[in-house]
Amino acid sequence: MINKQAIKKRVAIKVMEMVAGYEEEIILNCINFEVYEGEIFVILGGSGCGKSTLLKHLIGLNYPMAGNIVIDGVDITDDKGGNLQQVLRQCGILFQSGALFSSMTVAENVALPMQEHTDLPAPYIDNIVKMKLAQVSLTGYENHLPSEISGGMRKRAGLARAMALNPKILFFDEPSAGLDPITSAELDQLIIRLNRSYGTTMVIVTHELPSIFTVAHRVIMLDKRFKSIIAEGSPQYLRDNSQNPYVRQFFNRES
């Protein structure tokens, strides 16, 4: 399942000495890690450990208190405006509930980034939208409004929109949350397929164990008490060999 040969050791994302938090409270202290190109990288941890906070910093929604975040060779903490915009065009983000624009149909949602950022004529965009929706098994739902489809479909439509411009890096915020096991497994397969065909780097925030073992090449685990990374490596290795009992507990689903 895990295609280690596919991982080229070129750094796609590098986080250096990052401190994150809200106002006075520090949530993550001194975070250091690297994500390599073409890798499926999972950020995990218990509730409230700062997974979502870390993701928000990676995609530039929040600004770190200290430290640097370099994506694709560009430091997004360096200059708040230009650099970030440049980097974000190479990134796709799937939000937890899809974040589709409710006034637009599914097809219009997926077409929006293409209309804004490419010179393609409308019929081609239609064509590609169809392909994108077919990839996430939403053929036939082009003209539905987001309010007319189910939660799982909204999430898949959100994924189609995140993939619209074939980004180099895809960020997922809890992709399997609220999905049934079959849809969730299909989504995992889709993630693996996209990673293999396009070499897309994927950063996934989740705590769904089955999906972590299926897709992840490498994980980092955050902890609330230490406010930092307590484990890094492949999930199978951490499950069996971690020195930290909490990490073994987490991967073996023990209380």
Binding site: T118, Y124, K132, N143
Partner: protein, 382 residues
């Protein structure tokens, strides 16, 4: 999108082995970065060469994505329309996988965009009628619900959410006082100034006080206050309840056995009904003060002269009539705002529509009920 290569000559070449047969060789990549340029280029190429056999050589192609596939689909479609042949050669395993993933073999055989056809006139008319009917049904049910909530409140006063009601009174009343005061003051000032131009000619300056007093307390005070409240609070009720509706908070209330109407509507309607009349009284006072300013500074009236004239002209009935009307306006505004909130469907756009509709309907209802009240008063007095 960043265009990686504006120069397409490195990315493809073509050869014509025999008349009518054109081979396009792709090099390196055919993807999101150059699809738009290829499309333009190939349209010209096919127009000039007019091949009836197009061969695409993918031997040197390393990178293909769905944007690239769509270029190939388009070429296939153009050749299909001209009844020419289209074929791919030297397809590597990796490229084949991507083509299969995007179902290249079935794409381009039929038109991609199948828009919903707009229904004919009669279907449309039928739909509108059915929608109107169900909307009327909803409004009546909602009205009934509100009345029942009110009756329940009368029997069990404890069932009202007192804190919410007080909070709403603050938001609708106290927070609106500065803007109501300012607008009424300016309105009184304008009225006094405009009428003085006419009345001065007859030396009837003193009647400016009567004019401002009567028109503000009976008509303009209640109406201006109601319009400001509709804009401030009616809209906010609709937006707040609408957002609660789409995020399933209203459903959560019902499942907890709490009547959403009693929980959300009654505190707002009662709060508005209590504070809007008070706001109207303030509006009257500020308007009279505005008139007074013009009277004293421009019309040689004394403060006591102006106030005496106002007090002599106004009857207690005028003031109470204005206050009574504003109570009715308050019920209409707050109830309409809540109703529109409960009618929200869909997402953010639905909330926007509901907010607009709440303000427009409120203002319409204010003017409509005011005209009805004028007619009623006319026959009642006369």
């Amino acid at each position: 999108m960043t265009i990686l290569s504006k120069n397409l000559t490195n990315l493809y070449s073509f050869s014509q082995e025999s008349p009518g047969k054109l081979t396009i060789h792709f090099h390196d990549r055919l993807d999101v970065s150059n699809a738009a340029l290829f499309i333009k280029e190939f349209k010209v190429l096919l127009r000039t060469h007019k091949p009836d056999n197009l061969v695409i050589d993918l031997k040197k192609l390393n990178h293909l994505d769905d944007y690239g596939v769509s270029v190939l689909v388009e070429l296939k479609k153009i050749m299909g329309n001209q009844r020419g042949n289209f074929s791919l050669t030297n397809v590597s395993e990796k490229i084949e996988e991507i083509l299969t993933m995007h179902r290249f073999s079935v794409l381009g055989q039929h038109s991609i965009s199948e828009r919903k056809t707009s229904p004919n006139f009669f279907t449309h008319l039928g739909n509108v009628t059915i929608n109107l009917g169900s909307e009327m049904g909803f409004i009546l049910t909602f009205l009934g619900d509100t009345c029942f909530s009110f009756l329940r409140f009368l029997r069990h006063p404890g069932s009202l959410r007192l804190n919410d009601t007080i909070e709403n009174m603050k938001r609708v009343g106290l927070d609106a006082l500065p803007i109501v005061g300012l607008i009424s003051f300016l309105l009184g000032l304008i009225m006094a100034f405009m009428s003085s131009v006419q009345l001065q000619q007859f030396g009837a300056n003193i009647y400016v006080a009567s004019l401002v007093g009567i028109s503000m307390t009976r008509e303009l005070g209640p109406i201006m206050t109601a319009i400001i409240v509709a804009g401030r609070s009616g809209s906010s009720f609709a937006a707040e309840i609408g957002t609660m509706k789409i995020s399933e908070e209203v459903d959560a209330l019902s499942t907890m056995g709490i009547n959403p109407n009693l929980f959300l509507v009654l505190p707002r309607v009662l709060a508005a009904c209590l504070v809007v009349p008070v706001l109207t009284l303030f509006s009257d006072l500020f308007a009279i003060a505005g008139g007074l300013l013009v009277g004293v500074t421009m019309l040689d009236l004394t403060i006591s002269g102006y106030t005496n004239q106002t007090i002599n002209t106004l009857t207690l009935f005028d003031v109470f009539w204005g206050v009574f009307k504003s109570g009715i306006f308050a019920i209409l505004i707050s109830w309409t705002g809540c109703l529109k909130g409960f009618q929200v469907k869909g997402g953010a756009a639905g909330v926007g529509q509901a907010t607009t509709s709440a303000v427009v309907s409120s203002i319409f209802l204010i003017v409509l009920s005011d005209s009805l009240l004028v007619v009623i008063l006319r026959y009642w007095n006369g």
